[in-house]
Amino acid sequence: MTTTTLAVLVPLLPFLGAAAGLLLGRTAPGFVRPLAVLPTLTSLLLAALVAVRQGGDQAVNAATELTPTGSIPIELALYIDGFAALVAVLVGVVATCVQIYSTGYLRDDPRYPSYAALVSLFTSAMWLVVYSGDLIVLLVGWEIMGICSYFLVGHYWETPEARAASIKAFLVTKLGDVPFLIGLFALATDAGSFQITKVLGTVASGGLDHPTLIALLLLAGVAGKSAQFPLHTWLPDAMAGPTPVSALIHAATMVAAGVYFIARLLPVFEASQAAMVVLAVMAAVTMIGSGLAALAQDDIKRVLAYSTIGQLGYMTGALAVGDRGAAVFHLLSHGAFKALLFLAAGVIIHAAGTNSLAAMSRMRGLRHRVPDAFWTMTVALLALAAIPPFSGFFSKESVLGAAEHVATGHTEHAPGAAGWTVLVAGMLTALLTAAYATRLWLRAFQGRGAEAPDHGRQPLTMTVVLWVLAVPSLALGGLVYRTLPDWFDGRDLAPTLTTAVLGTGLALIGVIVVYGAWRHTTAFAARVPLGAVAAHPEGDAGLVEAEAIAGHAPAYGDVAHAPDPADPGRLLLGPLYRHAAVGFHVDAVYSALFVRPVRAGATLVRFLDREVVDTYVRGAGALPRWLGAAVRRAQTGNVQTYVSALLAGTVVLAVAVVLVATGA
């Protein structure tokens, strides 16, 4: 088979698997698990084959026009360069791991068939986005991911948190998608085609008329999908979905789509200096804000969610300094260790029966209950904190190195201001990332107090994939940073000495500070007993998690944080803690800016409708009603009365006719 055929099969197989899973889900439950895992696994192998064949050489470019679509043609096009090939492999690895993990995680869930089908569809859509060489086809995959995320985040729809979170995820991403769509149309109008190669050709020849406008419009959609400030608020709330879904969304699919999209169309953004600066500021605000917010979260998955936002900030930062190689490198390594973090967190939540760090910090020996999760999560947290030689170190250093490169005067791709912004914010975020990673590790695994509950061994399907993902988290960065430039733009991705020393030093400072604070505050833990665990700890992991999410707000007063004095984050953040815990009131700002005006407008419209419009209607109705009441009085029910009136009328008419006929 040609590379093109293989590449077409990659998104097609999971799509067919999803369709078959939805159709057979009820009638043939035995086929559901194979239908969920096998197409994804096959597609992973095909994607790997495509990557090997493509090998970072000349991009595979194939296009076929299904039907004429007027002045701007829409084509089914493939465009596979080194970025696409490698991101597709990452998507396959994470999706396969998630599917295998889900068979154990949602073992007893009655809605597993539809869940697995939606995950397959989601994966298929992401592959479509990755391979597509046409912007409209890309948009199709982009929107399918949006609707799938709505269903998957709302998987535990019995809980109000999940319902609210799914609607929020959908609406917020759609808020970005509307400008995104307009931006795509504007881009295609300027370029005369939706094909990415032609668009890039137009940009290279300077044919783009409104680069800033288009770039900013596209940026809105990317901010929505990739959860960048100010459209990031859906991501922490999306933690109300099942953990494997979080892993899938955060590691490889939905949030990666935005970054990947900018990486594909980076020349369009580079054409506008203003867009690059906006991108840099957006990345910086996102990085620092999410780092601070992650320090104050109590839900283990919300900590990871904010860390995703922060790491995505690194990627957009790399794009803001015009180095898409670094951005995609970080995307790959982050995909591996973030999937691992989420899947391990799922195991921990199942074992502990709670998603609250405050409750875990009062459990002794949780690490011995889930040794697989403990060791793999330690690896992943080290990668997240960018401690050498874990893979996160190399990818993050490549981002910081690119920023330094621009900041020190190589401004042919990006303005210097963007370089400095990204560099400073990246350094600060390195400190914060290490800090919250340490806090998570200490509070989850170094708890003191009552013995952690024992619910027996975790399912094998859930622990094996942790070790599978631990390998790239540990070694990916170190192994490939020399060969990756051949696949990408050829820009060097090796860490530079200055940033490596600075970044690692700051990370170590973060670790030490948090450790010190934790030693200081952990004594309080015994004084304030906290902890609520799921009512059915023997159930499958999905049930335990759903109960943990539903129980967090009643037990601790909020879904996001807990009133725990033993939290080192509380000591470190001081007065900021209160604001960080609620995500710096961004939701409140949205509420004031959008929700309340809309509601007030709705109230006004309702008032106008009820009181003004209806008054006329009621007035128009009143007269006939009075007339009707008067006429009703004539209905006595006495037939003789009726006939009397009838005949009297007949006489009158007869007289009138006679008079008229005789001309009187």
């Binding site: 006495n638 003789q640 009397s644 005949l647 006489v651 007869a654 006679v658």
Partner: protein
Amino acid sequence: MTLAASHGFLSPTGVEIAFLLVGLATFGAALVTVTTRQLVHAALWLVVTLGGLAVEYLLLTAEFIAWVQVLIYVGSVVVLLLFGLMLTKAPIGRSPDADSGNRWAALTVALAAAATLVWVVVDAFRTTWIDLDGPAEGSTRATGESLFQNWVLPFEALSVLLLAALVGAIVLSRKARADADEAGRARPNAGKADTDQADKEGAR
């Protein structure tokens, strides 16, 4: 047509005098029928009215119609009405509430209608003369010829209507409860005899 000038209202012929006298009796009987407080008397005065009308038909030389009138109306309809009065336990003797509260409206309407009709009829036909001489126009032969030459189809349709009425009367009386069996039996029989009669006479 002979003009009315030669036949003044002040010099009536013998037929006219007879018609007027019988007509007055008929009208008077009709008035009593609709005003009497004794229900059975109303039925009996109705007999007088219908009989008077039969005489008027004779005077108009429509003899076949006259005999049909006597047979059907005086013979069967009034009998049916008397049965009806009996079966609904109508009071015998004076009943104070024979008229409904609608009587003044009814009187007004009836007087207005009478005034209008009489005015129109007199205004239109005061000069019209019926020539009653020559062969009788309403003999059985003349009626039968016209009926079976020109009116066969309506005549047959009418027999279907009578059949439907017969079935309808039976169905309606079948709804009766068991204790009203007597009433149910009496009425359809009467109705049947009545319709048979009409058929026979029509066929003759």
